[in-house]
């Protein structure tokens, strides 16, 4: 190219170089005023005391035998040894989905797959797990990588991925329950982390569409629908979850024909779903309200029907805007499943209670609770982390 450069320097002006040294950063962020210097030292002191105390206890005083000996109980409760392959198969299906989705969509789901791999690898390194378990773990890791590679190349990947997730709950319940094809495992045997995860998954996934319908209903022009939705939402939000669990025990049998019973776990699932749906509805409503009137009008003027404009224009934007609230709600549901102990189900926390009252491990409740807290934290953190990533990729807050 032939052009005369009149101002050769101007075209190459770069921003002033910012060399960040650790020393510079600390000085700028931690020691930039007397007040901050004091704050920094006080915080360092507190962190030091707490960490020292905890770590000393974790490494020297604590006896982790209680976790080691009961590990299986924490994870799957009393699911019998002969049938345990079914839990593994369900997990394998999930792993497969994660791998495929990581290949298809990349992004957030790929990060979660890394986390999953990390968890499997850590378990592989645990010395006390049986060889049998390790074979399953290994096959999960292999499946994850294989399906990731397949996902990268899969034609029509998105359709397959979405289909896989839609069916996931059914597939998992099939493996666990049997649906009459596999020998049935009584639901009272589903305990521990397995129960916690299944309960929260059902409640979260089930409450989502119901919540959307309730939120839309609340904005409906038909008074019956509108006031029903308002009454439902306000009633549920006014009572504690425990009450819902209790009343499900009593109410559901009333609706059923004589001699017909529904397993406790199903009643709890229904209760948790209906409860969470009311909160989901309020979150979604917040999103609906954030959509400017012009969006509705534009949708109308190009000829979309009101159903089309709801599902193509309004909801996609409204849901994006409330991802943080929805995930927050999901996390709190996940933690609230620990209340099911009240109606006789033994979830992760329930197992913790049994284990700590086992005479062989008396006095080790600290270890038990710390471990349970860690498990809850890892899962809850994974949820909130993916929500933040999802917000970034979808550009929430940017118009």
């Amino acid at each position: 190219m032939m052009h005369t450069e009149i101002t050769p320097t101007k075209s190459k002006v770069l921003p002033p170089e910012q060399k960040q040294t650790i020393f510079g950063w600390t000085k700028k962020n931690l020691f930039n005023s007397w007040f901050n210097i004091i704050l920094t030292f006080v915080s360092l002191f507190i962190i030091f005391i707490v960490l020292k105390g905890t770590l000393t206890w974790v490494v020297t005083n604590a006896d982790w035998e209680v976790i080691r000996a009961n590990y299986r109980l924490f994870m799957v409760g009393q699911f019998s040894e002969e049938e345990i392959w079914r839990v593994w198969s369900a997990l394998l299906y999930l792993t497969l989905l994660f791998g495929l989705s990581a290949g298809i969509w990349k992004g957030t789901i790929r990060q979660l797959s890394f986390l999953l791999t990390a968890i499997y690898v850590i378990h592989l390194a645990l010395p006390f797990l049986s060889g049998h378990t390790k074979i399953w773990l290994l096959s999960n890791i292999v499946t994850l990588f294989a399906s990731y590679v397949i996902g990268l190349k899969l034609p029509k990947g998105k359709m397959i991925g979405i289909g896989g997730w839609l069916f996931s709950i059914i597939v998992i319940l099939f493996f666990l329950q049997g649906f009459g094809i596999l020998p049935s495992v009584q639901t009272s045997m589903w305990n521990g982390l397995l129960l916690t995860v299944i309960l929260s998954a059902v409640a979260i996934v089930g409450s989502f569409p119901i919540g959307i319908l309730l939120a839309l209903g609340r904005t409906s022009k038909l008074p019956i629908i509108k006031y029903f939705c308002i009454a439902y939402i306000e009633f549920i939000r006014g009572i504690p979850l425990i009450t819902v669990f209790f009343s499900m025990q009593i109410l559901i049998p009333l609706f059923l024909p004589e001699g017909f019973t529904v397993a406790n776990i199903i009643r709890v699932m229904i209760g948790a779903t209906l409860f969470t749906a009311a909160y989901m509805a309020e979150n979604v409503r917040g999103g609906l309200q954030s959509i400017p009137k012009g969006q509705f009008e534009a949708a109308k003027t190009i000829g979309l029907s009101s159903i089309q404009s709801t599902f193509l224009i309004i909801l996609p934007q409204a849901l994006r805007a409330v991802i943080p609230a929805i995930v927050g709600q999901s996390i709190s549901m996940f933690k609230d499943t620990s209340l099911v102990a009240i109606v006789g189900l033994v979830d992760l926390l329930g197992i913790a209670q049994t284990v700590k009252s086992n005479p062989a491990f008396l006095g080790h409740h600290m270890e038990v609770y710390l471990f349970v807290a860690l498990v809850y934290w890892v899962i809850a953190y994974a949820m909130s982390y993916s929500s933040r990533r999802l917000e970034e990729t979808l550009g929430v807050g940017k118009r």
Binding site: P292, T301, I302, G303, R399
Partner: protein, 253 residues
């Protein structure tokens, strides 16, 4: 697309408003509005703020309902029947002051949405037509961006393309350049001029007097919910009959 050729004006009246009255609560915003527009005519609506220009133009495609009078569009009478309203909305395109593009969709999706979902066009065909429209409004290279990545002028041109994608008989513009920086106003007005030349029936609410004088076939002046004066640009600007018209013009010119 219609060909660009000198304007011929068949005597068919595509919009007829007869004694239209509208109230917001107790506020009487449209008072006995009578107005007919011929096919291919470009009508510019002027008037002070709050005089009911937006309200009037929005009654044409049923965004606002009216309490008295009749509006007939292309032989379809606007009524409360949603079928009629939807039929009329397929005949009319609207461009808003605030663009109102769908921020979660690419430009191409914004334009193809209605042809695919309402006209049931195959996706390929809709996309081909969308690209032609983007070419026509002068931004073919922006198809895969999101509205937030475009300048105001570009967004408004996309909004015009989106409305045109439904192949409307009538285009309604409510102050299409009022939210734009001065340097972008021209690019939007140029697209509108081209559209007017192509024979589109247009109702334009605007404060752009240059555009009104150059492009309008007829101008109506709204004040206080009434049509005060109607006439060709020359008649209205150079020889206004009514005091209220004179006052308005003296304030704005």
């Amino acid at each position: 697309m219609e060909q660009v050729m000198p304007k011929e004006m068949p005597e068919k009246e595509i919009i007829r408003c007869h004694n239209v009255n509208k109230w917001f609560g107790k506020l009487h915003v449209l008072k006995d509005v009578n107005l007919s527009i011929k096919k291919g005519e470009v009508l510019v609506i002027l008037g002070p703020s709050g005089s009911g220009k937006s309200t009037f133009i929005r009654t044409i495609n049923g965004l606002e309902d009216i309490q008295q009078g009749d509006i007939v569009i292309d032989e379809i009478t606007l009524s409360h029947d949603i079928k009629h309203i939807e039929a009329i909305r397929k005949e009319t395109g609207m461009v808003f002051q605030q663009f109102n593009l769908f921020p979660h969709m690419t430009i191409l999706k914004n334009i193809t949405l209605a042809p695919i979902w309402v006209r049931k066009k195959p996706k390929k065909e809709a996309e081909k037509e969308a690209l032609e429209l983007l070419e026509r409004v002068g931004i073919p290279e922006q198809a895969n961006k999101y509205p937030g990545q475009l300048s105001g002028g570009q967004q408004q041109r996309v909004a015009i393309a989106r409305a045109l994608a439904m192949q409307p008989e009538i285009m309604l513009f409510d102050e299409p350049t009022s939210a734009l920086d001065p340097e972008m106003i021209k690019e939007v007005l140029d697209v509108m001029k081209e559209l007017a030349k192509s024979g589109m029936t247009m109702l334009v609410v605007t404060h752009e007097m240059g555009f009104a004088r150059e492009v309008a076939d007829r101008i109506v002046l709204f004040d206080n919910g009434e049509i005060v004066e109607t006439g060709t640009p020359e008649a209205l600007f150079d020889n206004p009959q009514h005091d209220r018209t004179k006052l308005f013009l003296s304030q704005i010119l």
